[in-house]
Symmetry: C2
Subunit: 381 residues, 2 copies
């Protein structure tokens, strides 16, 4: 017998009930039966996004939603400010270049958040920049960028959009799209939404819809105007991912019952508990100044090979965490708090980390991280 | 109590076992555990496609695969011959136009198959045409285009590709990609593959991979070169649709056990039985000369409103068939034979059609269509 546990920053565990809902007999997508499911999911997604705008449900992973934001809002030659503080920031730039946009890179050190003053300086220097492309939570570095502060630079300008990859932020912490004036926000199914990968959700502001009218990049599969038109008829432009949409309705219903504020509090509590455990164990957080509540990253002790540690955690202990990427390969462990994860998942992840570090020869006071986490996790009881 | 039955040309029923396989605990996609599942699915997909080439597994529906074939093989300004004999033929042209290609339309009457001589004449007239874009099975008209014949026009020419939407053909009838020299072939998960919508499978010939090298259309989410590179490492460029890929492995395993030839024979038997039933009931097939084995279309009697008939079949009888599209709206019923459908599904669909026609005032000899179908269906026992 070997039980396994998944605490990587996506895909995340799927609740048993949702798996059963998705295993319901297949139904045709052009029927009132499916339209009802689709419409309920789309309506509840507005609560998730904190928006009055339509939330489009696309049959793709989050990267497809990112591509759609580029091709539906911009034209070749458009200048865009790309906040590049990790793998996913870099992706914004690569997609932009693919479609002939001109990225103005704002390089941010890994583990640091973007500084709104640096963004403002770039915008002042290059007044024809059409958008800021950024992550809310940069999954590769476990950093939360200060979206609310940054939104103050864009919300009163008609000619400047704020495009936010919220893939590991929406449903994790407060991202009130309309209140902050975010112009495009994206999430994916396999993060806070507790579903398998295969859906991207995207919403646009009025300002972004206006930009869509003059955008000249080519698009067909990800055509937001066509999706919006179909949404009004409770359907999608092309065949929807029926089972995943059925799961989406189910998950959003549960999140509504829990209350979005409580969902955010849960993620925050697990994140704070994990950060406290990391400190108690004398380890260093990778993003000490602006940690995201989606996942907690830590540097492994120098004597330990982080790659082997993560592999042993997965293969020996049965606990899947994530390692570091690029420069951080072999040096970092990331523990996720996303989605269907609770108090005891977090405790077991910390316990497993302690045990694996000990097994790898690091001098660990077993239970010390767990105890620090427990102090905080008790808040919920 | 109300039991429901799904016999529309996609989505199609998902086997109970496959639903359970897809409901297995979520696993991370960058692990040996998932790589094994992915590699087995990708390997068995070669048997499905009858190819030695890599089969890419994309997190999108079939239309995404079609878009990928356009953007990965061609450049703006390229002339392509579009066989337009239905909704999906038209889609090839629309995608081509979106990316700046120049479609040369070959209009084919709905219900008819493309004539290879007409294609040849167009190719002779416009020698700079770079590809033929066609459906193997045009789902909207239930027509099978003569792909083998058409492949003879392209296979010996280095400068001409044959790009086949096999979404409702692959796994339905014989489509030996390598033997015929098809240069790009696409299918989707929710047809013969018995899965929910959300996956597109695509394979390219050497000639198509060569065309990929000089293709200049922009692409990011659907980047075949990047997918092929990742396939070599048993993974995908972006997050794969983990649960659907798990289902794909399971379904392909079952199809292998059944034997691909038997899978094709099954579809053919159900299709012949249904066509025989339609004739026995004195009704007219919509594609009498070149019917596809994916679905059988028939004209409803003039006295009957086809839209209301299909609605009553679904809502009163619990049997979901498909109606007609565009000009055929309200005039046509389509009964699918795709995927997890057997003898008695086919019989119940015919029985339901007879009963609904009678309910709508048409003079039907109840059981006459069923009997005609039974004669053929008995072949399997």
């Amino acid at each position: 017998m070997k039980k396994t546990y998944l605490l990587a920053p996506g895909p995340t565990p799927v609740p048993e009930k949702v798996n059963l809902d998705m295993a319901a007999p297949m139904i045709h997508h052009r029927t009132p039966q499916f339209s009802k499911i689709f419409a309920e999911a789309a309506e509840d997604a507005k609560i998730l996004f904190q928006t009055k705008q339509d939330v489009m449900i696309l049959a793709s992973t989050g990267t497809g939603g990112m591509e759609g934001c580029i091709t539906n809002l911009f034209s070749p030659g458009d200048k865009v400010l790309v906040v590049n503080g990790g793998k996913f920031g870099e992706r914004w730039g690569k997609i932009s270049e693919t479609y002939g946009l001109v990225p103005v890179w704002l390089k941010v050190e890994w583990g640091q958040a973007a500084n709104p003053a640096d963004i403002k300086a770039l915008l002042d220097k290059e007044p024809d920049i059409k958008a800021i492309l950024i992550q809310a939570s940069e999954t590769s570095t476990t950093v939360a960028h200060p979206i609310e502060e940054i939104s103050k630079l864009t919300r009163d300008r008609d000619d400047l959009l704020l495009v936010v990859d919220g893939i590991t932020a929406v449903g994790v912490y407060n991202m009130p799209m309309d209140e902050w004036g975010i112009d495009a926000m994206i999430t994916g199914s396999q993060k806070a939404l507790q579903l398998p990968p295969g859906l991207a959700l995207v919403a646009l502001s009025d300002k972004a819809w206006k930009a869509n009218e003059s955008s000249k990049c080519p698009r067909f599969y990800f055509d937001f105007k066509k999706e919006r038109k179909n949404l009004a008829n409770q359907t999608t432009a092309y065949t929807p991912a029926v089972s995943l949409v059925t799961g989406l309705r189910s998950v959003l219903q549960s999140m509504k019952e829990e209350g979005m504020e409580n969902v955010h509090k849960r993620h925050n509590r697990l994140a704070r508990a994990t950060r406290s455990a990391v400190k108690a164990l004398g380890l260093k957080l990778v993003a000490p100044d602006a940690p995201a509540d989606s996942a907690t990253g830590l540097f492994v002790p120098e004597s330990v090979d982080g790659g082997k540690l993560v592999k042993s955690l997965r293969d020996d202990f049965g606990v899947t965490l994530a390692g570091g990427q690029d420069d951080w390969k072999g040096k970092v462990v990331r523990i996720a708090h996303l989605g269907y994860v609770d108090t005891f998942d977090t405790i077991l992840a910390i316990a497993a980390l302690e045990m694996a570090l000990k097994k790898f020869g690091h001098d660990v006071a077993l239970g010390k991280g767990v105890a620090a986490a427990q102090e905080i996790l008790l808040e919920a009881y």
